[in-house]
Amino acid sequence: MNRTQNNDRKIIWTFGGGKGGSGKSFITVNIGIYLAKLGARVILIDADLGGANLHTFLGIFPPTLSLSDFIKGRVSHLHEVLLPTEIPNLQLLTGAQDLLNAADVKSVQKRKLLHSIQSLQSDYILIDLGGGNSLSVLDFFLMSDGGILVVTPEPTSIENTYRFLKSAYYRRLRQSVSSHSAKSLIDGAMDQKNEMGIQNPHDLFKEVRRIDEEDAKRIVEEVENFRPNLILNQVRSKKDIEIGFSIRSACQKYFGIHLHYLGYIVYDQDVGNSIRKRRPLVLENSRSRAAQCLTEIASKLASRR
């Protein structure tokens, strides 16, 4: 038995939102390495449905052991499927997509997995959620200590990120209210063409307040506590950097939430080169501009402990 007590302070960050190709895996791996190099124990979990390939970023061949082995009961504990990497303190867990995106995923199974992840022995657990938008992905995003949205300054990426954020937001609100009528109002709000005329979170809030003051209070509380983070990737100009602030402001006005703009990563040829070499950027070319941006973001995350 090598299970940890739950009392050690560990932090789970999830990287999600947007669409495939926005750089979530790249960022997850490089931030993970940075934290490991600071001396923290780090586990990377690959839950990308578009194609789990965190191992590629780390220069590891497709792993033989994966989360499936745990789910199917071939191993009894999650830590048994952890793979070592060349970086001390850094371990990898792949294959979560088997569960996260299965249509018939049972909430019991999901809870079991969440619990197992939470009981892994580590200082940081970084989960790459990929571009998925399924309920399980949303739950992972919401259960983490910090959900991090990775966006590129393009309309498609921003659009998808908002879609993801909307789903996560309403899911969180839905879980917080207790009355059946409030829940069905939220279900309605998720459908833009609903017959109740609920166009945005403000309309929803007004309706909920009309029927249940207690649930309205809960919503206010949830909105206040929902503080996702944003990383803007592949920025090419000062104007691109500003888009991060615009997204933050739009989220404030639309959802009423405080989105934390963690930072941006400049577009850099060295990133492509490092991926082709299958060598993480922060190791291969730590002086590159993109690596410096990553380092800055990672150190911000590390200081949040």
Binding site: P153, E154, P155, I158, E159, Y162, R163, Q199, N200, P201, H202, F205, I219, V220, V223, E242, I243, F245, S246, I247, S249, A250, Q252, K253, Y254, G256
Partner: protein, 197 residues
């Protein structure tokens, strides 16, 4: 969960109530960029009407907060909670609370109203002597400038029904720091006179 129309000018521009002019300018530039019609960050969240509303709110917030006098009077009437917090901290330090002022208080102006009741032109006179334009009153009271004009012109036929008019008069009176009841009573005399004719 405040709608744009419920937010303070500071919340609209996302600045602190003690923000400097420079900070307000920067916040305004950013807000303008964010809620520009072609902005990437908004089109998939807000519809056209919502964007227009936010744009208007940003302009209004900027206009008021960049004008020292307007900002001051706005602060006095809208930042009561902040004031209260400050008051509490002041009380700890100084043991007394700062003076509270009403909306648009022009305490050093003394206006003698000779007439027994307030007519439209009296209101206009008072307003002009305070050097406040209708737009400011309109912002302050959220009453359309057209209606304020009608009130001043005593355009009785155009004015809304007395029940609504009383509300407008009350707000206008408060904005001018006049006693609302006197203004309403005075103004309504006009209607009675009109009827007698």
């Amino acid at each position: 969960m405040k709608r744009i129309e419920e937010q303070t000018y500071y919340e609209i521009l996302e600045v602190s109530p003690i923000a400097s002019v420079k900070e307000i300018q920067r916040a305004y530039d950013r807000a303008k960029e964010t809620f520009h019609a072609d902005s990437l960050a908004i089109y998939s969240l807000f519809n056209e009407g919502e964007i227009k509303k936010i744009q208007a709110a940003i302009e209004e917030a900027y206009r008021i907060l960049m004008d020292e006098a307007l900002r001051k009077s706005y602060d006095q009437s809208h930042l009561q909670t902040i004031e209260k917090e400050e008051q509490e901290s002041h009380m700890e330090v100084e043991g007394k609370s700062p003076e509270r002022k009403g909306p648009l208080s022009f305490t050093d102006l003394s206006i003698h109203v000779e007439e027994a009741f307030y007519r439209g032109k009296t209101l206009k006179q008072i307003r002009e002597r305070m050097d406040v334009d209708l737009k400011t009153i309109s912002t302050e009271t959220k009453i359309n400038t057209k209606i304020l004009e009608w009130i001043e012109e005593e355009a009785l036929e155009k004015l809304p029904a007395p029940v609504y008019l009383k509300g407008f008069l009350k707000a206008y009176a408060q904005a001018l720091n006049l006693e609302p009841q006197k203004v309403i009573e005075g103004y309504c005399q006009l209607f009675k006179e009109e009827k007698r004719k």
